[in-house]
């Protein structure tokens, strides 16, 4: 009994320690966004800003390109999420259900593409955008992100796990492939579609390397790109921390909200990866 109590106490102590390790950086981030620069430099650890000021937030909106970056991020995220969900569910369905020549080869190709590390695509992507005249444009920023191999794979796996009987009933009733996909398959695929939407939303909201090789004009920057520029670029390193932390905080909020609401889908994403191995 005493051993159980002791081990339970130890368990909680370890958990609380690590909860602090994992969450306190966010506390620091929030607190320091509302501090004066001098206060942030003197008491970086303190969770309470004294005095409490909103200067940095005002400056983020009035003195930086933040509003532009935010607008671009919203545009990119919305378009990319819609595109990925549509294209991945269509392709995943076809690869799982429809019989057409070349299907096997396509799936093999898809598995191969999934193994390509994104970071080695930096120069290649720039080359193709440059060649097609899409460099430094919204098209270059958005179109290459519209389909992702992993999303297609997730949808194919999902459709593989759904029995075909419902679709066959619809087929006997004389519905064509498009009809079946739109009014029978998609409504059934809701959980997978939600997972895919979240995956695409966070993926495109946080996307950084692609923006680095697809655009150059500050008017086309998304939040991660603008933030990176803010830190390593013109405003210089070392100072202005309340401003930088505040901007980073604002960029984190949408994902945080989605995470809190749809947490169980996030957990499913992570463990969905485990099946691949």
């Amino acid at each position: 009994m005493i051993r159980t109590l002791a081990s339970r106490f130890l368990g909680y102590a370890i958990l609380i320690f690590f909860a602090l390790v994992f969450l306190y950086p966010f506390v620091i981030q929030i607190a320091n966004s509302f501090k004066t620069e001098a206060n942030a430099a003197d008491n970086p650890l303190s969770p309470i800003p004294s005095p409490f000021v909103t200067d940095s937030l005002v400056r983020i909106f009035e003195g930086t390109g933040f509003p532009t970056w935010l607008g671009n991020s919203v545009l990119v995220t919305v378009v990319v999420t819609i595109g990925r969900v549509a294209f991945a569910s269509m392709a995943g369905y076809a690869l799982s259900r429809l019989r057409f020549p070349g299907r096997r080869a396509l799936f093999a190709g898809l598995l191969a593409l999934m193994a390509v590390p994104p970071v080695v695509l930096l120069i290649p992507k720039f080359l193709v955008l440059n060649q097609l005249g899409m460099y430094n444009s919204y098209a270059g920023l958005i179109v290459p992100l519209l389909a992702d191999a992993t999303g297609i794979f997730v949808m194919k796996q999902f459709f593989d796990s759904v029995p075909v009987s419902v679709e066959e009933a619809a087929r006997i009733d004389g519905a064509g492939s498009f009809r079946i996909f739109w009014s029978v398959v998609l409504p059934m695929a809701k959980p997978a579609l939600i997972t895919l939407t979240i995956l695409s939303f966070t993926g495109s909201w946080n996307e950084f390397p692609h923006t680095l090789v697809s655009v150059q004009d500050p008017g086309l920057f998304t939040l991660p790109r603008g933030l990176a520029d803010l830190v390593s670029g013109s405003l210089g390193a070392g100072t202005q921390y309340p401003l930088k932390l505040g901007a980073a905080l604002l960029a984190t909020i949408p994902v945080a909200i989605i995470f809190v609401i749809f947490q169980r889908y996030f957990v499913r994403d992570a463990s969905a990866g485990a099946d691949k191995g």
Binding site: P25, Q29, L95, R99, L106, L127, A251, A274
Partner: protein, 339 residues
């Protein structure tokens, strides 16, 4: 042949139409670019005009051999980046795997309440933007920042993290009075002296290592948790009846059950750590003294800052090869151990 007609109708046009958008985009922005980059890696294209005209000087395999056999800055930088990334992998992969497993084991404990909260807390960092989180860590590791304030509580004077190029191993060795021994300094391989190879990760790299461990452990913890929930309860009970203590249970019953997941976590870790880029770009840009330069960042820098796209692409392909080889090697080792 008959099955294609009949009840299923002809699915060929629909099939192709359904995959067309995805195939077009992936083909145009993944497959084609890789082939284009393969060509560019054989040239000396400097970013002017199109790389696919006769005006661009053809370099053959020069861009590749310069990384390995020719003496010079290109090889030195490349080997430095390989060294830095190797130390980074060597620290990140084991630490994040063990931490993820440990957290999963504790969170999975049936007797503890508030599991959901702790799981959320540990997992949240991994869904946030790498750039935003790098900004936070840059602030925490600043000279008068939070980390040094905590260290000061324990009477430790923290280093100037992002301007300290000293290697960890060099620091440890200097405590034993070893610094720059001439046999190691005078000889070397691939353009770096043995002493340089043995530097360990720099102090600046340690800050980045801690950031990455902090962000990715949560993801892997969730994978371990899913696997732990699939361990049959009977197995654990049988072990307990046989008189196994907690450590023996973990060692001989639970860990063997987790082997496939552990393999996956280590493989994903190896693949991910060789790609580190965002954090380097935001936090250090390869500085100080090139000790946080990684192949991924070097390839970016070579192409987009030095306008040597051929060499940059060549570095990318070598990195590509490293990642593929590591994956294959890891698979073979696990297979041999299992059989």
């Amino acid at each position: 042949m008959f099955s294609r007609k009949g009840i299923r109708g002809n699915e060929q046009p629909a099939g192709w139409l359904f995959v067309a958008p995805a195939v077009l985009i992936l083909g145009l922005f993944m497959l084609l670019p890789i082939l284009m980059a393969l060509w560019v890696s054989l040239t000396r294209w400097n970013g002017q005009g199109s790389p696919f005209t006769g005006d661009v000087p053809f370099a053959g395999l020069d861009n590749y051999t310069r990384l390995f056999t020719d003496e010079g800055l290109a090889r030195q930088d490349f080997m430095t980046s390989i060294r830095n990334n190797a130390y980074y992998v060597f620290f990140v992969v084991p630490i994040q795997t063990v931490l993820a497993l440990g957290l999963a084991l504790i969170v999975n404990n049936r007797l503890l309440k508030g599991k959901g909260f702790f799981r959320t807390a540990f997992y949240f960092p991994s869904v946030t933007s790498s750039v935003a989180i790098s900004v936070v860590f840059l602030f925490m590791f600043a000279n008068g920042g939070a980390i040094n304030a905590i260290l000061a509580v324990f009477g430790i004077e923290g280093p100037q993290w992002f301007s300290d190029p000293r290697g960890l191993l060099h620091i440890v060795l200097s405590k034993f009075g070893v610094s720059s021994p001439s046999p190691l300094v005078d000889h070397g391989v691939f353009g770096l002296s043995w002493w340089d190879w043995l530097s360990g990760p720099s102090v600046a790299m340690c800050a980045i290592i801690s950031l990455v461990v902090w962000t990715t452990s949560g993801t892997f913890m969730v994978m371990f948790l899913a696997a732990l929930q699939n361990v049959p309860v009977q197995l654990e009970e049988a072990g307990r009846i046989d008189g196994a203590n907690r450590w023996q249970l973990l060692r001989h019953v639970i860990l063997p059950q987790l082997r496939p997941t552990t393999f996956l976590v280590v493989t994903l870790g190896l693949i991910g750590t060789w790609q580190v880029f965002d954090q380097i770009y935001v936090m250090s840009q390869g500085n100080p003294a090139k000790t946080t330069l990684t192949p991924a960042f070097l390839s970016y820098r070579t192409a987009f800052r030095d306008f040597d796209y051929g060499s940059g692409a060549a570095i990318s392909f070598v990195l590509f090869l490293i990642i593929v080889l590591l994956t294959l090697l890891q698979r073979r080792i696990t297979r041999e151990r299992d059989s």
